[in-house]
Symmetry: C3
Subunit: 348 residues, 3 copies
Amino acid sequence: MYEKGYQTVDTAISSVFTKMKGVSYTNISEVGRIWDVADYVFPEQGDSSFVVMTNYISTVGQKQDTCPELPDGKNKNKCTSDADCDEGKFKRTGNGHMTGKCVTNTSTCEIYSWCPVEDDRQIPDPPILQRAENYTLFIKNSITFRQFNVVRSNLVESVDQNYINSCLYHPKTDSLCPIFRLGDIVERSGFNFSDIARVGGAIGVLIDWDCNLDLSIRHCKPKYEFYGLYGTGKNDKVEKPSLGYNFRFAKYYVENNVEKRTLMKVFGVRIDIIVHGRAGKFDIIPTLTAIGSGVGIFGVATVVCDLLLLYLLPKRDFYKSMKFKHTEVQEEVPALPPSQKERELPKE
Amino acid sequence: MYEKGYQTVDTAISSVFTKMKGVSYTNISEVGRIWDVADYVFPEQGDSSFVVMTNYISTVGQKQDTCPELPDGKNKNKCTSDADCDEGKFKRTGNGHMTGKCVTNTSTCEIYSWCPVEDDRQIPDPPILQRAENYTLFIKNSITFRQFNVVRSNLVESVDQNYINSCLYHPKTDSLCPIFRLGDIVERSGFNFSDIARVGGAIGVLIDWDCNLDLSIRHCKPKYEFYGLYGTGKNDKVEKPSLGYNFRFAKYYVENNVEKRTLMKVFGVRIDIIVHGRAGKFDIIPTLTAIGSGVGIFGVATVVCDLLLLYLLPKRDFYKSMKFKHTEVQEEVPALPPSQKERELPKE
Amino acid sequence: MYEKGYQTVDTAISSVFTKMKGVSYTNISEVGRIWDVADYVFPEQGDSSFVVMTNYISTVGQKQDTCPELPDGKNKNKCTSDADCDEGKFKRTGNGHMTGKCVTNTSTCEIYSWCPVEDDRQIPDPPILQRAENYTLFIKNSITFRQFNVVRSNLVESVDQNYINSCLYHPKTDSLCPIFRLGDIVERSGFNFSDIARVGGAIGVLIDWDCNLDLSIRHCKPKYEFYGLYGTGKNDKVEKPSLGYNFRFAKYYVENNVEKRTLMKVFGVRIDIIVHGRAGKFDIIPTLTAIGSGVGIFGVATVVCDLLLLYLLPKRDFYKSMKFKHTEVQEEVPALPPSQKERELPKE
């Protein structure tokens, strides 16, 4: 009943460090290319929230220039004459600044922009970095319960350097191994890896610490859980809008004194590591408070019993008269001097 | 009085994804340039905390070299002879490593540094990317109440793909639209867009979920609020030090086998998206606890009433005698055998 | 006893902005180089969690090519013939895609990778950027207690622009100065700067706000605390695995139409700024609840007293008879008509 109400509770201060391992090899138009961790993780510094690139659309050699806007497929940005292209205006979803010309062969306005404009109408399928499935993620998590002066790491006693070198997380057999296969994380969160790799998606990895510090500190261990975020999960009955996860970034370079860039539209698995830490320890104050509330409940019991006795049971009149002393009876004889009233009372 | 004390409460686990849209055109010294999302958002991967560049000071073509330190305007780093420039020393706010020479035409020490040194004494006014006002921000937020096994997204039932394609957040008419105009966010947080765009500033966007899960899940909806952070807000009576928001970053490149960089001092709007999620659901334990505490209050009422009756009212002696049974009266006749005492008591 | 139970409590919404200052000069193989904030902070935009580079291994001019894998020292990836190198396979900790050849002079498999492969077997000692010790960190922290409509910044009343220009945090003499020397942060968290600078490490900076809003707002001030995270702290009795903190990032460039990159393995001090904000203010509801629970405790006292009186004291029979009215005595005379029963009762 008390739900450990006798304990005082502290919430953890936590810090997470992540590190991906693994390489991918791609072979696009006869050009082999290796992708390693410096190429596919954003941001690079091992944050608790990061994206692993699994698919991309790259636009090489963009420079500041004029070029026709990309047709959007729904003919919404189609133009038939220069009059459709207001010079100096922008369209909400446009890529640049209109020059006032309508380009006839694409039927779209000419814009000043990073040219050529990215063509993202077709997402590569299968995903270019499908092998990302085999990447591994190493999570280091440190939590501090200030109130109890306890510091714990997810590398608990049984997790030593030898074990880390060879283990792989499995909820049953290796539930404390801090190394996770990306494909496993995705599948356990309810996504299909090929789907998420193609259009991107977000996954929450929850590290749950629920520690009873009245026991040995060795029993204070993390539990890992995996959640698919923002829909596309199998168990989602309602189809949600805006599936996928993508963002753009650019690599800048200078060629023949002209600033150029390679624009990447990156689709990937975003992983948010969320730590939920809670520790309890026996303390006298919450114990008393819990007992206090509990006794309050017994007070309720008294009231309920009284109500039953006084208003529901057949002999209720009898109980009523037993419970309440008829002080008003005494008040019916106000003529008596106070001294007499007091003399009579002890008899009652 | 109970403030939904009959509910058990869970705090949300949340994940936020953001995406900016919009382009700016600048025209500095006859060179047009387009700035798109890959150019003006830091970091690029759609984090819950990010900066939108609205103004900058760029120093093109820096390389490792010696050059004179920048005069700071207050003549604090002025030198008159080489003796003022200790070779190999650094100044706390200096840009490099002193070579020991005093450069006569600037009256500052020569330093080994990324040269030429950035000159940030004048912040461009009006801000270079004033048009950032019209950028839009799309926020995707997923929250999970683990205890109740509920997952919600800010794209609630009424927000479908069609609506998203055309809506713009407005607190009255479109309070659930997840697309925000940057200028609106800034104005609603109490800043003036031109000011913040020039020197930078920070804004908190709070997504507040306060869900009563005893009702239908469809009523569990987000509420958006906007806060100006770190002062410069209109309502701030006290002028706070260190206004603005800026940071530096560098784009590296190699030219004629020499490593060079373009240093950017970026002024911008930093947006921190903060999620505050709380859900309540009926549960028997907190209900009983709340009732228990409530009954405790009635206990207090009893005590207060008694005190009033016994010590304050004119007829207090009467009530006193009614309340307390004079057990000491019985103790005055200890000579009686216990059996007799007990026989007498039922009469009382 | 009430532990400020008469107050209603709000948790802060907080935003943190950080800025490093300072430069380092390195002199490797006769090439001097200056490192400034754009070079050594990751990410660049002033996040609450960031890394300051203190040491690195750089691999200049990598390009997509074939080269032999790095021997790992433990002869685990040694090969004696081409049969040991499965074409098209990857090793878990390998850097690339095996071509099927065994290179005789290194006795390792040939791989297709970013070549040459990084050689990180030796970490530079002493750390290359040892001078990072003297960098300073400026922290701006804004907190909002929504329930009480209070906004505070760590630049409190006594911290003005003049003070900021000259102060340096010291727990005794300058406990409110928001400028911290990196070396001091490291030492106060229990690390040794040379150690952490060489292999990296993580430090938590806690900003603790515990405000009693019944008093003047001027007393609502931050307190800074420093924690070493993930072990290597001096006070750690147990040697933990996976010490250090490092990550890789790449600077890309194009040379003679070939994409190249400089890969950096960065060792550094990761700083996580954690804000813990709590404000209390008098409110009638929690006061009543606290009193209620407290009265519950007095209820317990009553029960305990009764138990003592009724079951333990020598005169317990007397008290028992005083406490309980023998209603069953009345029930022994059910023959009497109800009217008579009622007439008799007032006498009782």
